[in-house]
């Protein structure tokens, strides 16, 4: 029996969980970049104190954002490629930090 048949016959409760990403597509300097993805990334890094939007968050990659991503990847021991893949290690690291931080607001 072929593998896809097995999967199609598996009950929904046994299907592998779908990972939900905040990103629609890959982010990186020189890539098309979805504007919503850029805005999410800026807001996330800003909340972590790693990015300064100077009060005007436009949906494009600027040098400050590229530097912030590179610095974050360096400091967290992640692959330093300046890119975020949907569900990749950089996005996941950011999400885990944000989740913990926002769940425990205040001291």
């Amino acid at each position: 029996m072929r593998r896809e048949n097995l999967l199609s016959q598996a009950p929904a409760s046994q299907a592998p969980p779908r990972l939900r990403s905040n990103l629609r597509d890959r982010i990186g300097d020189g890539l098309p970049n979805d504007p919503q993805d850029i805005l999410w990334l800026k807001q996330a890094l800003s909340r972590l104190g790693r990015y300064n939007d100077r009060g005007d968050a436009h949906p494009f990659i600027d040098r400050a954002l590229a530097t912030a991503v590179a610095g974050y990847q360096r400091d967290r021991g992640l692959r330093r490629d300046g890119m975020l893949n949907p569900g990749g290690e950089t996005e996941c690291a950011i999400c885990v930090e944000l989740k913990r931080l926002l769940e425990r607001a205040g001291r």
Partner: protein, 260 residues
């Protein structure tokens, strides 16, 4: 608590209370909650004082490292960016801006986590517990660049209302199962509460840049973290664990080794 002199009736009460905890410890072992069983046996030993926890045990309770990670994020996003306040209530942002170019200042801050819910293995081992991460830093300024350098002590416990650090204690509080048995056992010297100790010191260096441009959210300008370097937990001057400066684990009863 000094043990009361006992007579025959008291002996029965004492033995029943002690047997209660011995039975619970055996049940914990049966279900694989070995860390919790060990705590109960130490409690039953009546030694009191402090019990130093080891790295292997803490690795079995991931919520500890998650809480340390959380407090590190808070230092980065709250302390280093000037958004929080010192324990005296002074805004860190003001202290930073008061540093002259080429000057430095000492800044301290802390973050704590109250863990009220955890998996059964951790809850039976620690109950509700708190983690306090206290940071002590030297901040130097060079133009719009601020360099933070210091240490953060991660300790089980929390400050009381007078800002005195109270270590996490293994005991039985009103409303907890076993409280009545605990009162009897402790009264007759068949058990004693003790402090849970697991200090970890961590060195950190951070580079922060200041942008004086006022915005609606940051009217005094904004501090942004450019770089942070957290050294490994527990790294001491000679590679061994490094106790907090103001805490001496040997100040209690001097008995730290325990092998049930």
């Amino acid at each position: 608590m000094t043990a009361m002199p006992i007579d025959f009736g008291d002996t029965i009460l004492r033995n029943n209370a002690g047997n209660y905890f011995d039975l619970i410890a055996s049940v914990f072992d049966l279900f694989g909650f070995n860390d919790a069983a060990k705590k109960l046996r130490y409690y039953r030993s009546g030694r009191g004082g402090s019990l130093i926890l080891d790295d292997q045990e803490m690795a079995r309770h991931p919520i500890y490292s998650e809480s340390v990670d959380l407090n590190r994020t808070r230092f980065e996003s709250g302390t280093f960016t000037g958004r929080s306040k010192t324990k005296e209530g002074l805004p860190i942002e003001q202290k930073l801006l008061a540093i002259p170019d080429g000057g430095s200042a000492r800044i301290d801050d802390f973050w704590d986590v109250n863990i009220k819910k955890s998996d059964p293995s951790t809850y039976l081992n620690f109950g509700r517990f708190a983690l306090k991460s206290g940071g002590d830093f030297e901040v130097s300024r060079n133009g719009d660049k601020f360099t933070w350098s210091g240490v953060v002590d991660h300790r089980l416990g929390a400050d009381d209302k007078k800002n005195n650090f109270i270590p996490e204690r293994f005991d039985f509080n009103p409303g907890q199962p076993g409280k009545s048995q605990a009162d009897i056992a402790e009264r007759y010297g068949a058990a004693a509460p003790f402090d849970l100790v697991y200090p970890n010191r961590q060195r950190v260096d951070a580079q922060v840049v200041y942008d004086p441009t006022p915005t609606e959210e940051f009217p005094n300008g904004r501090f942004t973290v450019e770089r942070v370097d957290w050294r490994p937990l527990g790294e001491g001057p000679d590679g061994r664990g490094w106790w907090g400066r103001d805490w001496d684990p040997f100040a209690t009863n001097g008995k730290l080794e325990f092998d049930p």
